[in-house]
Every structure is written in structure tokens, then in C-alpha cells.
């Protein structure tokens, strides 16, 4: 699919650099959220690791990183103008994201099934932090969905795919956010 009336490439390049930097301000601001969650984790529960499944935690980490890589590769495909690959990668990223979401919910179910008291300090901070993360996943899934739907409707060109890039950057933040939470909640 071709893009109607694309902007001159060089013009676009400079603009994109600015958009990228401006967008990273937003990503930095959202990084603060994860910092606070991790700080609260140590403030409330010390370094106690709660009774949540280590296996599921590791699985979420693998799945979400894989998903983020797919989104990144969709962006790379857009750089090369490979339209089919964009849609395929976005599709993969989206469903892997859904899988990560479900795995976190499964972790919750597992803890509840284990019969642990809901208000254990190490669990309280776990509910809260993973709950925050699930909200980010929902936002990210919407953004990936929008990027894909835009790709089908308008298409991306090597010169003009900022929407796709922004989506993949946001999705990377979500993935990195999980990795940070995973390290703080599951490992140390």
C-alpha cells in the first residue's frame, strides 16, 4: 500500500528527531511511576519476596520482552517499507501482550489459590505494582491495536511512520517497566 503525498524525506527526518525527543520526555515521566512503585515496595515490605510463582514471573518477562522485540521489528520493517512484515509483527506483539496480561492475572489467581492472606505486606505491594503495570499493558495494547489498524488503513512508508515508532517505543517502556518490577519483586 502506498502513502498518499508523503512529506519530503529530509524535512520529515528532522521533525521526527524532535518528536522522538519530545516523546521520550513522556517516557521519562512514566519511568518515574515505576521508580515510585519500586520505592514503595521496599518501604512497605522490605526486600521480602512474596509467595508468588517465580515460574510465572519469569514467563511474563520472556513473553513481554519477546513482544517488545516484535514491536521493535515492526518498526524496523517500516524503515525498510516491508508492509506485510509490519502487520505480522504488530499482530504478534499484540497477542504476546495479551498473553503477558493473562499470565500476570494467572499469578494473582495462583497466590489466591495458595490461601495466603491478601494483606501480607509483600503481597499488597505486589497487587498494587502489577495492577499498575496491567493498566499500562491495556494502554499499550490499545496503542498497538491503533498502530496496526492505521497500518491497514493508511499504511506506513520508510519516511513516515512516526505513529508506529511511538507505539513501539511506548511498548518498550511497558516491557522495561515489567523487567524493573520483576527484578525488584521476584529477584531482590
Amino acid at each position: 500500500m502506498s502513502v498518499k503525498n508523503p512529506l519530503p524525506a529530509q524535512e520529515n527526518g528532522l521533525e521526527i528527531k524532535h518528536y522522538r525527543a519530545g516523546f521520550s520526555l513522556f517516557l521519562i515521566s512514566q519511568g518515574v511511576v515505576f521508580l515510585v512503585l519500586i520505592a514503595v515496595r521496599y518501604l512497605i515490605a522490605g526486600s521480602t519476596v512474596g509467595p508468588y510463582s517465580q515460574w510465572l514471573g519469569a514467563a511474563v518477562t520472556v513473553v513481554i520482552l519477546w513482544s517488545a522485540i516484535q514491536a521493535k521489528r515492526a518498526n524496523l520493517a517500516a524503515d525498510q517499507g516491508n508492509h506485510e512484515a509490519i502487520l505480522k509483527r504488530l499482530h504478534g506483539a499484540f497477542w504476546l501482550g495479551v498473553l503477558a496480561f493473562l499470565l500476570v492475572v494467572l499469578t494473582w489467581v495462583g497466590v489466591r489459590a495458595g490461601g495466603y492472606p491478601v494483606k501480607m505486606p509483600s503481597l499488597e505491594v505486589f497487587w498494587v505494582a502489577t495492577g499498575f503495570w496491567l493498566v499500562y499493558v491495556l494502554l499499550g495494547l490499545f496503542v498497538l491495536f491503533a498502530a496496526r489498524s492505521r497500518g491497514m488503513r493508511v499504511g506506513y512508508s520508510p519516511a513516515s511512520h512516526w505513529d508506529l515508532e511511538a507505539s513501539s517505543r511506548f511498548w518498550s517502556l511497558v516491557a522495561l517497566g515489567w523487567v524493573a518490577l520483576w527484578i525488584a519483586f521476584f529477584l531482590i
Partner: protein
């Protein structure tokens, strides 16, 4: 970049003829969103006492209302659908209706912010009047129960901080003037900016109506562990402030990116106007600290609604206070930095004298920004360990050094100037006087042994009203009078302007100087009833406060009159040099016909100083920032 909105390369669709005005549609969709999500929550998590609306449902419904409101106001056509690849519709660019719709023009958005701030200033101001009326008597009169009064205190503080103090000069004047002052036609993220402003009325409404869900008594902090035993209205305090801070966060990101990347040719960092520096430093603070407090508020909300034990006796009873004040102190510099910047903007123009020690003035703003995150715990001297007292009192006292740089620059500029004593000048000088008292009383509060007596008394209340009203509101008024010709092409009456300024100044000092005496005399905060011996002082303080309220009304009426009916004035009535005066008043939609090129400093005066701006001949578009 004349057509930034069509980055996908498509011509905009014609503006759709809406069956409902956007504001009404927003309300309707918000109501639908609320009902759907509240009902879902009530179904999933039923409460035995209230089948239709539960605490969880109120939260879920609120998020539904936010989504409905933002989509209804224009987010649906202008953001969501274009994200999916549908073409963006055009926005209204003329007529009064554009102020009640989704807009992309930073000037319209700025005025929307200003309008929302001014309106809220009045709501919260009326609450203050009611509080002062109550305090005329030592026993309950107007507020029959202390929780009524405490809830009023909380709403007054919350609205004043999050909708007036942090919004009027950043979202309002910043959005309006920063792009003009740095010579660009638009901001970096106009679409997000157009939507963010509509979070303000929503947040104000949420906070102001929160007592309907149950009264809360925590003041503007909403602090745990007290929050746990407060009414559910506190949930809407958390949510309302969440909306308001989200709005400010978007403003911060947008204006930072704009200042970084949209400066016109020749607008180097050494030439960047002081006000833009002020907004830049504030925005960096906002980008770091607003997400911090938003996370804290969501944690507080969850702690209350689940309920969890994060911030009570089983968790960390002081945890919420730590997290709150970690944001809370940068917040006051978020409030005051643009005010300090405005002083250096107005005084050189009015004194016809070069700004003294400009690098020092800029460094002052930057160092206040850097230090502001290191002083916060002085709000907790009576709670903290002894070992923490010395470092925090150290940083607290040190921050007065960069704050003093603002005075250094202005005083150096005033010396041997040829000062035109106009209303904006007068207001800046008054602001300097008031903020000085605010700062000097800060010395007493930063001193731990004295703080152990002054903490949580009216001395503190006096201190921060001197910094916020005295520093920010007076400077805001100065900026409004100074830029009035820019907004409307009309000017104010010098007599009524000075009359209003002097009125407010006298009434303000008569009110808040008394607060220091009251505090020393044993009047503590957050009380609607107090020992009888304090009544006479409180009575006269209240009388002065009513005069203060009337004074603000006089100024607003005068400004509105001047805006609409004031005498017409030439385009650059102050002979100022900054770029916002290099276009017509009010500025056209695209700000400049040709983008100006900066070749010198805006703050250098004197014989033979060349014009700092070159206007390229029409037709040769210089594009935007290529510094």
C-alpha cells in the same frame, strides 16, 4: 511548518457539523461512561449496603466519565480516529465558540487554561471567604460541624494549588506566550495540548463535588493514615487531582519540547527570554514530580478503597507523608518560578534598562529547580528522626541563595533605571515585597528549634500565603496587566489598575501579617473552633480578608472590562523587545506572517543598541528552529 496536522499527508476533512455542542456531548458521554462502568463495578463487586453505587464503582465510573468526557469533547474525532488512520477534521479557528471546543491553537488553549484558572480562583476564593467568616467566631457558626470546615479547607487548598497556582502561569500564560516569545507558530504536541485543557474543568468539578460522596478532613494533602477513616469523598479528591496533574504534565511535556525544538532562527539559549526559562525549569520539575504524586495518589486511593495497609499502623504510617512532600516541596517552586521569571521580564521593559546579570538570573531559576527536590522533609520536622534535621534544614536554608538571585537581577536592573511606574511595575514591586516577607519568615521555619513551635500554626499558613499569593498571584496580575494589550489590542485604565493593585496589596498584608501573630499566639491550623482569647485578632483578620476578596473581584472586573471595552492601543505599547510584541494584537492564528530572526539580546537597552529582531521579507519562509 504551515500544515502540521496533516502529517499523514491528507487534507483535513471539513469540520463536521456536530448535532450537539462538544461540551454538552462531553457531558452526555461522560454520564454514559460513568453509568456503564459504575454499573459493571457494582455488578462485579456488589456491596450489601448500596446496590447501585459502591466506592469501587465510583472510581470505575469516574474513569468511564473521564474517557467519555475526553472523547465527547473532541478526542474521538481528533485523536482516536486519526490514530487509526482516519483523516483529522479541521478545528474552528474563529468566533467565541472555539473557546468551548477542542482547539489546536496554543493561544486558544492558553485562554482556556486561563479562564479555567480564573473561574476556579473565584470558587476557591469564595470558600476562603466562608472559612474566614467562620473564624470570626471562636465557636461554630457557618460550618456547624468541624468536618464541614475541614472539607472546605481541603477543597480550597486543592483547587488553589492544582488549578490556580500551578496552572494559571504555566498552562495559561505559558501556553499563550511561550510559542510567541520563542518565535514559532505552534507547539510541539498541539493535539495532546488541546485535549489536556479539558481535564481541568473535569478535575475541578470532581474535587469541588467530592463531599457528596462523604466528607474528608485531611486538607490538601489527602494524607494516610487519616484518609482511611475519612469519607469516600477523599477518593474523588485523589481522582480530581489526578486529572488536574495529568493536564499539567501534558503542558509540561509539550512546552519543554516546544522550547527545545521550535525556537526560531537565532534564538540561542543565551537569548531565550526569561519567561521561557521559567517555564522550562518549571516543566522539567513537573515532568519528574507530577508522575510521582500521581502514583502516590493512586496508591492512596487503593489503600483506602481496597482497603490495604500500606500507609497505616501495619505498614508505614509516615510513608504517604514522605511521598507527598517529596512532590510537595518542588510544587511550591513550580508555583513560584514563573513568577520570578516574570519580574525579570517586566522590570527591564518598564525601567528602559538592560537586565542586570542575566546569566545569574537564569542560573537562579535552574538552581532552585535542582535544589527543590532536596528540601522537602522540612515539612516533617516534627515527625522526623533527630538525625535528619540537620541536613534538611541545611538544604532548606541554602535554597534561599538561588531564590535571592531573582532579587539580585531585579534590584540591579532597578538601580539608575528610568522606571515607568505603571500598574504592572507596581504589582511586580509589591510581589517582591510580599515574597520577601514569605522568604524571611521561611528562615524562621527552616530553623528547627523555632520550627518545633511554629510548625502547623497559622505562622506557617501566613508564610505560604505570602509566597503563593504574594509571589505568584501578584505576579500573575502583573503579567495580566502587562500583556493585556497583547491579548486584546486594548489597554486598561491606569487609575483603576493602580487603585486595584493598592487595594489588594493593603488588604493582603492586613490579612496575612495577622496570621504570623496569630500563629505565635497559639492558633493552630485546621480548626473551626479555637480558644476564645484568639477571637478579636481573628475577627479583624477576617474583615481584612473580605476586603482582599473584594480587591481581587475589582481587578478581575477591571481586566475583563479593559479586555472588551478598554481604549485601543498601539501594538507595542510598552516598547518591549521580546518577540510576542512583533506581531499584531491579538496575534493572528498563525502568529507571524514570516518567522522573525533573532540577532541580539532582548534585554539590552541604551543608545545605539540595534534591534534584536530581523523580520525577513515576506515570501521567504525561514521555516522554524535551525539553530
Amino acid at each position: 511548518m504551515a500544515q502540521p496536522l496533516t502529517k499523514d499527508g491528507m487534507t483535513p476533512k471539513p469540520r463536521p457539523v456536530a448535532p450537539l455542542p462538544p461540551v454538552l456531548r462531553g457531558f452526555l458521554w461522560a454520564a454514559i461512561g460513568f453509568i456503564v462502568l459504575a454499573a459493571m463495578a457494582a455488578w462485579l463487586d456488589p456491596s450489601p449496603v448500596s446496590p447501585y453505587l459502591t466506592a469501587v464503582g465510583a472510581i470505575a465510573g469516574w474513569f468511564g466519565a473521564v474517557i467519555g468526557w475526553l472523547l465527547g469533547i473532541g478526542g474521538y474525532e481528533h485523536i482516536v480516529k486519526p490514530m487509526m488512520g482516519f483523516p483529522s477534521p479541521a478545528v474552528r479557528t474563529s468566533g467565541w465558540r472555539r473557546y468551548y471546543e477542542y482547539a489546536l491553537d496554543h493561544k486558544v488553549i492558553g485562554l482556556q487554561y486561563l479562564g479555567a484558572s480564573t473561574g476556579t480562583f473565584f470558587i476557591a476564593g469564595l470558600i476562603a471567604m466562608a472559612m474566614r467568616f467562620q473564624l470570626m467566631n471562636y465557636r461554630p457558626t457557618l460550618f456547624h460541624y468541624p468536618q464541614d470546615y475541614l472539607n472546605a479547607v481541603g477543597i480550597h487548598g486543592t483547587l488553589m494549588m492544582f488549578t490556580v497556582a500551578t496552572v494559571a502561569m504555566v498552562g495559561g500564560l505559558g501556553n499563550y506566550f511561550v510559542p510567541l516569545m520563542i518565535g514559532t507558530r505552534e507547539t510541539m504536541f498541539p493535539k495532546a495540548s488541546g485535549l489536556s485543557v479539558w481535564l481541568v474543568p473535569l478535575g475541578v468539578l470532581t474535587v469541588a463535588m467530592s463531599p457528596l460522596l462523604g466528607q474528608w478532613t485531611t486538607g490538601w494533602r489527602g494524607y494516610e493514615p487519616l484518609a482511611a477513616s475519612d469519607g469516600n469523598g477523599l477518593l474523588y479528591y485523589y481522582m480530581g487531582v489526578f486529572a488536574l496533574t495529568t493536564s499539567s504534565l501534558i503542558v509540561a511535556i509539550n512546552l519543554t519540547a516546544t522550547i527545545l525544538f521550535k525556537r526560531t532562527k537565532g534564538m540561542t539559549w543565551n537569548r531565550l527570554p526569561l519567561f521561557a526559562w521559567g517555564i522550562l525549569t518549571v516543566s522539567l520539575l513537573n515532568i519528574i514530580w507530577l508522575p510521582e504524586i500521581q502514583t502516590t495518589f493512586i496508591l492512596g486511593m487503593l489503600d483506602k478503597v481496597m482497603p490495604l495497609n500500606l500507609f497505616n499502623v501495619f505498614g508505614q504510617p509516615l510513608g504517604y507523608e514522605y511521598l507527598f512532600w517529596l512532590f510537595g516541596h518542588p510544587e511550591v517552586y513550580i508555583v513560584v518560578l514563573p513568577a520570578l521569571a516574570i519580574w525579570s521580564e517586566i522590570i527591564p521593559v518598564m525601567g528602559r534598562k538592560s537586565l542586570f546579570a542575566r546569566p545569574i538570573a537564569v542560573l537562579g531559576l535552574v538552581f532552585v529547580m535542582l535544589l527543590s527536590g532536596m528540601v522537602w522533609a522540612h515539612h516533617m520536622f516534627t515527625m522526623m528522626r533527630y538525625s535528619e534535621m540537620l541536613p534538611f534544614s541545611f538544604f532548606t536554608e541554602m535554597i534561599s541563595i538561588p531564590t535571592g538571585f531573582a532579587y539580585l537581577a531585579v534590584i540591579g536592573t532597578l538601580w539608575n533605571s528610568r522606571l515607568r511606574l505603571t500598574t504592572p511595575t507596581l504589582l511586580v514591586l509589591m510581589s517582591m515585597f510580599n515574597f520577601l516577607i514569605g522568604g524571611l519568615t521561611g528562615l524562621f521555619l527552616a530553623d528547627v528549634p523555632a520550627n518545633l513551635q511554629l510548625h502547623n500554626t497559622f505562622f506557617v499558613v501566613g508564610h505560604f500565603h505570602y509566597t503563593i499569593i504574594g509571589g505568584m498571584v501578584f505576579s500573575w496580575m502583573a503579567a495580566m496587566y502587562y500583556w493585556l494589550p497583547k491579548f486584546s489590542g486594548r489597554t486598561y485604565s491606569e487609575f483603576w489598575g493602580k487603585f486595584g493593585a493598592i487595594w489588594v496589596f493593603v488588604a493582603f498584608n492586613a490579612t496575612f501579617l495577622n496570621f504570623f501573630i496569630l500563629g505565635l499566639h497559639g492558633m493552630n491550623r485546621w480548626v473551626s473552633a479555637y480558644p476564645k482569647y484568639l477571637q478579636p485578632e481573628n475577627f479583624w483578620t477576617s474583615i481584612a480578608a473580605f476586603f482582599l476578596g473584594a480587591g481581587f473581584a475589582i481587578n478581575v472586573i477591571h481586566i475583563v472590562w479593559a479586555w472588551v471595552k478598554g481604549p485601543k492601543v498601539r501594538e507595542n505599547p510598552w516598547d518591549a523587545k521580546t518577540l510576542e510584541w512583533r506581531t499584531s494584537s491579538p496575534p493572528p492564528t498563525k502568529n507571524f506572517d514570516t518567522l522573525p530572526v533573532v540577532v541580539g539580546s532582548f534585554y539590552t537597552y541604551g543608545d545605539g543598541v540595534p534591534d534584536p529582531v530581523e523580520m525577513p521579507v515576506a515570501g521567504i519562509d525561514t521555516k522554524d528552529s535551525r539553530v
